[in-house]
Symmetry: C2
Subunit: 334 residues, 2 copies
DNA sequence: GTGAAAGCGCTAACAC
DNA sequence: GTGTTAGCGCTTTCAC
C-alpha cells in the first residue's frame, strides 16, 4: 500500500502538499495539484483513514446500534439516518445487538474504541452500555427507545398515546376483554405502550382484570405469549401487541389454533408492517413515522457534534392508528 | 480521555507494561498486572483502537456491505456472519448500499480507507467497487451475488436450479403461460434466475414466447412489472418473481387489480419471506439456507485472512422449493 | 520481567 | 505557496 510519502516522491513535492491537495486546500498551485493527482492515480494511492483519524482525533463514521436488524421498523429509520448523514459528510455503519444486552455492550465498546464520530442507539436495555456511552465524550442520540436513565438527545414516538388509541379502538369496536402483549421491563417502548394500554383500559372500566403478558420483542415471544393467553382462565377476545415482530408471532399462533381473526380475536399491533395490508384479514397497526424518526435523530446528532454542550433535546413524534380488518368486530360472527 | 501514559503514571509502570497487561501477555508480574488493572479502572481508561490499528496496521472490524437492509433475506444471513465473526474475534459493521452502485462505492472506499480486516459483499453491480476491492489487499468474500468479473471467494445458492424448479413447478401445476420478473442485468442472481427460468421453459416448449420483465430488485419495481404484465397483449397466467421484495410488489399489484391468486395468476417467488405462510393465499417460495450462507461466507473470510494467497473458493448451496397455495392451479376456478 | 525508544501514516503549526 | 517538523496513542523490538 503506497503512503502519502510515495505520492510525494512521485510528484516531486512534500507530503504536506499532497495532504493539502487531498483535503481540498485552495492555497496550492494548480500545476502542483495536477502533478499530485496524477501521482495519486498512477500509484493507486488511497489515504489511510486510520492514520488520519489518529492525527485529527476524530472520524467520519457513525455507529447506529439497533436492537434487531430483522425488524422492518428499523429499515426505514436507517434510511432516514443515512440520508442526513451522507449530506453531512458521515458514513453510517450498522451494528445489530439482536435484543441482546451483551452484544450491545460489545458494539458500544467498539464504537467508543474506534472513536466513532457519533452513536445513534436503540437500546436493548443494557444499563452498562448506556453508562459507557454517557460517560464518554462521544455524542449520542437515543432513538425509538430511551437510554436507561439517560440524559441524551432522544427521538421517540408518543408510545403511550399510540397504545391508548389502539386499545380504545378495540374497546370501541365492541371487544370486551382486551389483553396486552408487551416487551421486557426496562425497555421504554415496552413500558410506555403497556402504560397506554392500562390507562385506556381503566378509563373504560371493562369487567375483569387487565390481562398482560411480558416477553421479549421477538416473533417467538409473541407466539408463546399468544399461546398462554389462549389457554388462560378468562380468555381475551382481543389483544394489543406492543411491536410488529411479536404481532407476527401472535398471528401465527392464532392461525395454528384456528382462532378466527377478527371474529374470535381482535388484533392490533404496534409498528407498521410492510405487508400489513396483504395478509387476510389485513392487520390493524399503529404506524410510526419511521423515516422521519431517522432524519430527526441524525439531525440531532449533527447538531450535538457541532455543539457538545447544552441541554439534551427530546423529540416526540406522533404515532397513527391504521384501522384494517383484524380489529373489525363482527356481531353476527359470534 | 486518558491515554496509556496516564495509566502508566498512575500505576507507576511504563506504557509498555500497560500495553502488555492489556494485551494479555503472560510475561508480566502478577503484582504489576493488579496495579495496572486498578489504574485502568480508576481512570476509566479505554484503549484507543485507532492508534492500535495504526500501529498494528490491522483492525478487527469486518464490513458487511449488503444491497438492501430492508430485505429479510439479509437478516438471517447477517446473523450467520455475526455468529462466526464473534467467535473469531471480529466485530461486524453493516453497510447498506440500497441497490445503489454509487452508495456501494462509497462504502467500499470507506472500508478500504478504514483498513477493515475484511469485507463481505452482496454486490449491487458496481464494477468500480468490485475493482477497488479486488485490487486491494483486503480479503473479500462475495455473498449471494457474484462480484462483477470477480475472482473472489464466493458463497451463493444454486440460483439457476432453484429458478428452474420454480418454473417447472408452475408448468406442472397446469399453468400455460408463465412469465418472469427479474432484476437488473449484470447482477448475477437476476441473470442466473432468469436463465433457470428460460431453460425450464424451453425444455417444456409451452406455446408463445417467454415473457420477461427486468426491473430493480425492489418492491415498487415488482409492482410496476406486474402491472405491465397484466396489460400485455398475451397476459400470463403465472409468474416467477426473482426475489422476495419484487414478489411483495407483484402481490400488491394483483390485489389492487382484483386478480385472484392462484386461480387467475399463479405466483412463485424466489427467497423466503417470514410471513409467506400468513398471507392468503400463502405464498410458494424458493427458500435459501440464509443462516448457513452467512456462516459459510464468514468462515471463508476467516480462512482468507489467515491465508491471503491461494485459489478462491466457491461454495454453492442448494435452494429449496416450498410449495404453498399461490401456485396451486385450480381447474374449477377457471 | 521491564523500560526506552522508534515508528505506524497522516495533518497542522510554523518557518520561509 | 511550500517544506520541515512534531506528534496523535499505541505496540514492539531491543537492551538490560
Amino acid at each position: 500500500m503506497p503512503t502519502i510519502y510515495d505520492v510525494a516522491r512521485e510528484a516531486g513535492v512534500s507530503a504536506a502538499t499532497v495532504s493539502r491537495v487531498l483535503n481540498g486546500a485552495r492555497t496550492v498551485d494548480p500545476a502542483m495539484v495536477a502533478r499530485v493527482l496524477t501521482a495519486v492515480r498512477e500509484l493507486g494511492y488511497r489515504p489511510n483513514a486510520v492514520a488520519r483519524n489518529l492525527r485529527r482525533s476524530r472520524t467520519t463514521l457513525w455507529a447506529v446500534i439497533i436492537s434487531d436488524i430483522g425488524n422492518p421498523f428499523f429499515t426505514a429509520t436507517v434510511r432516514g439516518i443515512e440520508d442526513v448523514a451522507q449530506q453531512a459528510g458521515y458514513s453510517v455503519v450498522l451494528c445489530n445487538s439482536d435484543e441482546d444486552p451483551a452484544k450491545e455492550e460489545t458494539y458500544v465498546a467498539a464504537a467508543l474504541s474506534e472513536q466513532m464520530a457519533g452513536v445513534i442507539i436503540s437500546s436493548s436495555g443494557s444499563a452498562k452500555a448506556a453508562k459507557s456511552l454517557l460517560d464518554s465524550p462521544i455524542p449520542v442520540v437515543a432513538i425509538d427507545r430511551q437510554l436507561p436513565r439517560g440524559e441524551a438527545d432522544t427521538v421517540v414516538v408518543d408510545n403511550e398515546a399510540g397504545a391508548g388509541t389502539a386499545t380504545r379502538h378495540l374497546l370501541d369496536a365492541g371487544y370486551r376483554r382486551v389483553a396486552c402483549i408487551t416487551g421486557p421491563e426496562g425497555v421504554s417502548t415496552a413500558d410506555l405502550r403497556l402504560r397506554g394500554y392500562t390507562s385506556a383500559l381503566s378509563a373504560c372500566q371493562p369487567p375483569g382484570e387487565p390481562l398482560i403478558v411480558r416477553t421479549d420483542f421477538r416473533e417467538q415471544g409473541g407466539y408463546d405469549a399468544m399461546g398462554s393467553l389462549l389457554s388462560s382462565a378468562e380468555r381475551p377476545d382481543a389483544v394489543f401487541v406492543a411491536n410488529n415482530l411479536m404481532t407476527v408471532g401472535a398471528l401465527r399462533c392464532l392461525a395454528d389454533h384456528d382462532v378466527r381473526v377478527p371474529a374470535e380475536m381482535g388484533v392490533v399491533g404496534f409498528d407498521e408492517i410492510p405487508w400489513a395490508d396483504l395478509v387476510r384479514p389485513s392487520l390493524t397497526t399503529v404506524a410510526q413515522p419511521t423515516y422521519e424518526l431517522g432524519r430527526m435523530a441524525a439531525r440531532l446528532l449533527v447538531d450535538r457534534i457541532a455543539t457538545p454542550a447544552g441541554r439534551p433535546a427530546r423529540v416526540v413524534l406522533p404515532a397513527e392508528l391504521r384501522p384494517r380488518q383484524s380489529s373489525a368486530f363482527q356481531h353476527n360472527a359470534r
